[in-house]
């Protein structure tokens, strides 16, 4: 047997040291941050990149002839190139900066949506975040198209056969989450894309939860659109990415009008700017992409394979330890799941769990996690959810387990 190329393992203590916010106390206990699926904390390098931009290079982009404007433009467009490489896209023009995954999905639903009509179908899954449900519902309301939902099984995995049965020539768009934020399920996005393409549907993958945990290559997946949010991958909030295949983006009409998205404007006719600027109306979040590029540098220095291996270890370790606590049920047990540990406790509402573990300095999320259909599917109002990132340690998991045991004590 030839050994797989060795992955340089993470030193989580060293990684942790690079995240300033983690070094504080909450209610007298050291902060243990396990709400990474909601948003991640920022490495000093990202914070500095944003601060340095405002200290040194800030100017509006694509417009001025002065030096600062050139520097700001170079930094902003350089970040686009960085994102292109990170996602494996063919060209910078296929990377559109948006506010986040949500805005990316809305852009596609609105712009590609112009080609959708009555009787057409949009196919999503039962585990979608509300942001990959509601934009399509709005589109269906506007056009008379029909929303179809592929079911999940008791482990929280997509039932592929059912998904396939729902595909037909009527299916115009398949919109599917890459990694579920409430269950941790990782979808077979390449297979999904292949089958959707076989009936001529366009495919959008919601990668909000994926890009900080696993290497993503949009051309290997083969999808038409891919969205993600920088704040979920150690970058700033308010900035995200829509990847779209050039041929599609070319055909799609702009969805917002304004400065920067035009070439010439007269009152008779406006000529739109080339890609990707056609979709970036107005002054954008200038420092956002710069922070995102720094976050990508940070992720790549650690290595996504090393991050994945480290998080898988935490997930195994945490699942085992939590399962030993009487009354705890893990929600979401799909094979190959990643970085998310959702659970319930007999006789204890998740909000009470959340408050009690916060008292111990442990930050987790409780609620429906913007996936109400998932909660309904499992017949529960909410879960408590711990979610891991590269900087979490086994000690963090130990603190969580201690805190959950305390919950059990209080409610004994």
């Amino acid at each position: 047997m030839t050994a797989a190329p060795a992955v340089k393992p993470l030193d989580p203590t060293k990684v942790r040291a690079e995240i300033p916010i983690l070094h504080q106390e909450i209610r007298g206990n050291p902060l243990v941050y396990l709400d990474n699926a909601a948003t991640t904390q920022k490495p000093a390098a990202v914070i500095d990149a944003v601060a340095d931009f405002y200290r040194r290079d800030n100017a509006n982009i694509h417009r001025g002839v002065h030096t600062l404007s050139q520097r700001a433009t170079d930094a902003y467009e350089g970040a686009r190139g960085r994102v292109r490489g990170f996602l494996g896209a063919a060209e910078d023009a296929e990377i559109v900066f948006v506010r986040g995954a949500t805005e990316g999905i809305n852009l596609v639903a609105n712009s590609l949506g112009r080609s959708i009509g009555a009787g057409d179908e949009i196919l999503i899954s039962w585990m979608e975040h509300h942001s990959n449900i509601v934009p399509w519902q709005l589109l269906c309301e506007r056009t008379g198209a029909v929303l179809k939902v592929a079911p999940i099984d008791d482990t929280g995995a997509l039932i592929l056969e059912e998904f396939e049965k729902l595909l037909s020539e009527r299916t115009k768009v398949v919109a599917m989450v890459h990694q579920s934020n409430s269950l941790g399920t990782v979808n077979p996005v390449r297979e999904i894309t292949e089958r959707a393409h076989a009936v001529g549907a366009k495919v959008l993958i919601d990668g909000a939860q994926a890009t900080s945990h696993r290497a993503v290559d949009v051309r290997e997946i083969g999808c038409d659109f891919y969205v993600t949010s920088a704040h979920k991958m150690f970058g700033p909030s308010g900035i995200g990415v829509l990847y779209g295949r050039r041929a599609l983006l070319e055909e799609m009409p702009p969805w917002q009008g304004g400065g920067d998205m035009i070439l010439t404007v007269t009152f008779e006719k406006t000529e739109y700017n080339e890609l990707p600027h056609k979709f970036e109306a107005g002054t954008p979040h200038l420092s956002g992409p710069i922070g995102l590029a720094a976050a990508i540098d940070w992720i790549e220095a650690l290595g996504l394979d090393a991050i994945a291996a480290h998080e898988d270890d935490l997930l195994r370790y945490g699942t085992e330890a939590l399962s030993e606590i009487p009354g705890v049920t893990i929600v979401g047990t799909a094979p190959g799941k990643s970085s998310v540990l959702s659970f319930t406790m007999d006789g204890v509402h998740p909000h009470d769990i959340g408050t009690i573990v916060d008292q111990e300095g442990v930050a987790i999320r409780t609620g429906h996690h913007c996936t109400q259909p998932v909660m309904d599917r499992f017949g529960i109002p909410a879960t408590a959810r711990a979610s891991f990132a590269a900087y979490n340690t086994r000690e963090d998991v130990d603190a969580l387990v201690r805190a959950v045991r305390k919950v059990a004590e209080v409610f004994a």
Partner: protein
Amino acid sequence: MSELRDLYQEVILDHGKNPRNFRVAEDANRLANGHNPLCGDKVRIYARTAEDGTIEDVAFQGAGCAISQASTSMMTQILKGKGEAEARELIARFVRLITDRAEPTDDELEALGKLAVFAGVREYPNRAKCATLGWHTVSAALDRADDPVSTE
């Protein structure tokens, strides 16, 4: 742990686990539904009031965290037998306890009696809606509001 005990006191845990007046009141003449969309907590309040407004019976159904269940449970016990004006005054006093920026005075706490245990919730502003859901809903029931109450 001691601070935690401030919030999750025995009374609260007890009422959370075994809520009192947790039933459908068939002969209720006032009804309201409450919903906290943020956490999915739901409560339905049934009340029967006499001609003069005296609350003869109050009961509830619903699902939620220990804080919301306990506060609604204790509320039903305390409101029973109260006149409408007195009930409304107590409702306002309880909501003030949970949400007012100013520390409650000793007089206020005394007027709240057993309900003063919920002062611990003040430390957790993101739990205020849990503690007040039942109270806002009973208030709507007394108004005979037909629409579900939302704490949003």
